[in-house]
């Protein structure tokens, strides 16, 4: 069993809502309220409120911050417009992924949201590499909520007029019930929705206001995981790590065009070589035959039983009512339709490489419906 974790600002609120709390990323967090399947389906059909206050919210500021961050990330920050969150990666010298994150220019500084379990390491990694004069401020006084689902816009726009004008991957400063809130139209479920940063001291009031809207129910980490798996979104520490590169992880979209050509970020030589020649292995989606889930840690095996790949996330898809997984497989096996053998729990399962997302994204893009 894990050690009991630290508590987050909404700890009492979760317990009062009937959450089952479990240790996660060093904190006590809600795994579920009424049940993972019901919460998953509610989010896909209506709107789910997630507490993601364990995530690290950082401000990186100082003279030359744009160039300094470009030395750590493969994003083109020079053309990144204000209030436009961008998915990016902290990379090591071997091109491995130290963390995945969202970076947003906000006036003279950048706002980063990094993973909860990795935030302390990220800060140390950045502070060791950023020049003097560029500082990292860990906003420990900020909490973070996510409101996800097709009715998130209806619920939130009632409380915060104007958020309906945001499009996918845009953000701005608003107020909820008088509380300043940095709100972006983004998320980790594949649905339309918002991420909402508010002061920890006011987060209970904000959560209560949002959860009181008829479309909204609180959703735990269990459904967050099944939702992001269906959306094909990788989870750091499982599908991404120090030993996976962005090319292997099929995150080439996070390598901006100019940066790919010019380099100047950690691991560029390896990454450029993989872009030119192809990686040895690649992250793919798998549809698994039968009903039994194949989970993280299962091996992909060849016809002689040798381990040639591994499952990094897997579970039962509530939307598809079938098991799905993400795996790293040799490039020769990475084409959609390719069948692979998976060894788990003393038996062999058959998976078919399937394009991700498993369940279509429903983001509200600019100019879209």
């Amino acid at each position: 069993m894990s050690e009991p974790g630290k508590t987050l600002p909404l700890d009492g609120w979760h317990r009062a809502k009937g959450a089952r709390m479990v240790p996660f990323a060093g904190y006590e967090m809600p795994i579920q309220y009424e049940g993972i399947l019901a919460e998953h389906k509610w989010t896909r059909e209506s709107a789910g409120l997630f507490d993601v206050s364990h995530m690290g919210q950082l401000i990186v500021a100082g003279a030359g911050v744009e160039k300094a961050l470009e030395a750590l990330l493969p994003a083109d920050l020079a053309i990144l417009r204000d209030s436009r969150p961008k998915y990016s990666l902290l990379l090591n010298e071997e091109g491995g992924i130290v963390d995945d994150l969202m970076v947003t220019r906000r006036g003279d500084h950048f706002y980063l949201v990094v993973n909860g379990a990795t935030k302390e390491g990220d800060i140390a990694h950045m502070e060791a590499r950023l020049p003097g004069g560029v500082v990292v401020d860990h906003m420990k006084e900020q909490a973070l909520l996510a409101l996800q689902g097709p009715k998130a816009v209806d619920a939130l726009a009632r409380l915060v007029p104007g958020v309906e004008e945001l499009t996918f991957m845009t953000a701005g400063l608003f107020a909820i019930d008088g509380v300043p809130a940095w709100i972006s139209r983004s998320g980790y479920t594949g649905e339309d929705g918002y991420e909402i940063s508010v002061p920890a001291a006011a987060v209970e009031r904000v959560a209560e206001r949002i959860a009181a809207e008829p479309e909204v129910r609180p959703i735990g980490l269990g459904a967050r995981d099944s939702l992001r798996l269906e959306a094909g979104l990788p989870l750091y520490g499982h599908d991404l790590g120090h030993d996976t590169t962005p090319v292997e992880a099929d995150l080439v979209f996070a390598l901006s065009k100019r940066r790919r050509a010019e380099g100047g970020f950690p691991g560029w030589h390896r990454i450029a070589k993989e872009l030119a020649d192809g990686p040895i292995r690649k992250r793919v989606g798998l549809a698994v035959e039968g009903r039994q889930p194949v989970r993280e840690g299962a091996m992909m095996v060849d016809s002689e039983g040798n381990e040639v790949g591994k499952v990094t996330s897997g579970g039962f898809s509530p939307s598809l009512e079938a098991p799905i997984a993400m795996a790293y497989v040799p490039l020769a096996y990475a084409a959609p339709g390719r069948r692979v053998s998976l060894a788990a729990r003393g038996r062999i399962f058959t998976g078919t490489v399937t394009p991700m997302p498993f369940v279509p994204h429903r983001y509200k893009r600019k100019g879209g419906a």
Binding site: L37, G222, D225, G315, R345
Partner: protein
């Protein structure tokens, strides 16, 4: 008919020399939404404490152990077809398998309903 319980959260309902086995309401609550069940074939010989069935929820996989030694009479096809029965009626329609007992004395090592209730309260 007497019902006994194990520390691994199986129940066994005994009627003469045959018995029905499932997982307890406490166990299904801990597992959460059950999405997959595998039950043993009729005729299979089970050892006390040996792996007998598999139950998987959205978040976890778990083995179901046989509380006693015996021979499987029937696996419950209904829970294979509709795994959520384990959540909705764990100690009724959501049973896993029936077996004939090899040794009635093994039952004396199991917990009564009251003992099991106290056991769960201490977890």
């Amino acid at each position: 008919m007497t019902v006994y319980y194990t520390r691994e959260h199986e129940w066994i309902s005994v009627d003469g020399d045959t018995a029905t086995v499932g997982i307890t309401d406490f166990a299904q609550g801990q597992l959460g939404d059950v999405v997959f069940v595998e039950v043993p074939e009729a005729g299979r010989s089970l050892a006390k404490g040996g792996e007998a069935a598999v139950v998987e929820s959205v978040k976890a996989a778990s083995d179901v152990y046989s509380p006693v030694s015996g021979t499987v009479v029937e696996g419950n096809q209904a829970v294979v077809d509709e795994p959520s029965l384990v959540n909705t009626d764990p100690e009724g329609e959501g049973w896993f398998f029936k077996l004939t007992l090899a040794d009635n004395h093994e039952l004396s090592e199991l917990m009564s309903a009251d003992q099991y209730k106290s056991y769960c309260e201490e977890l």
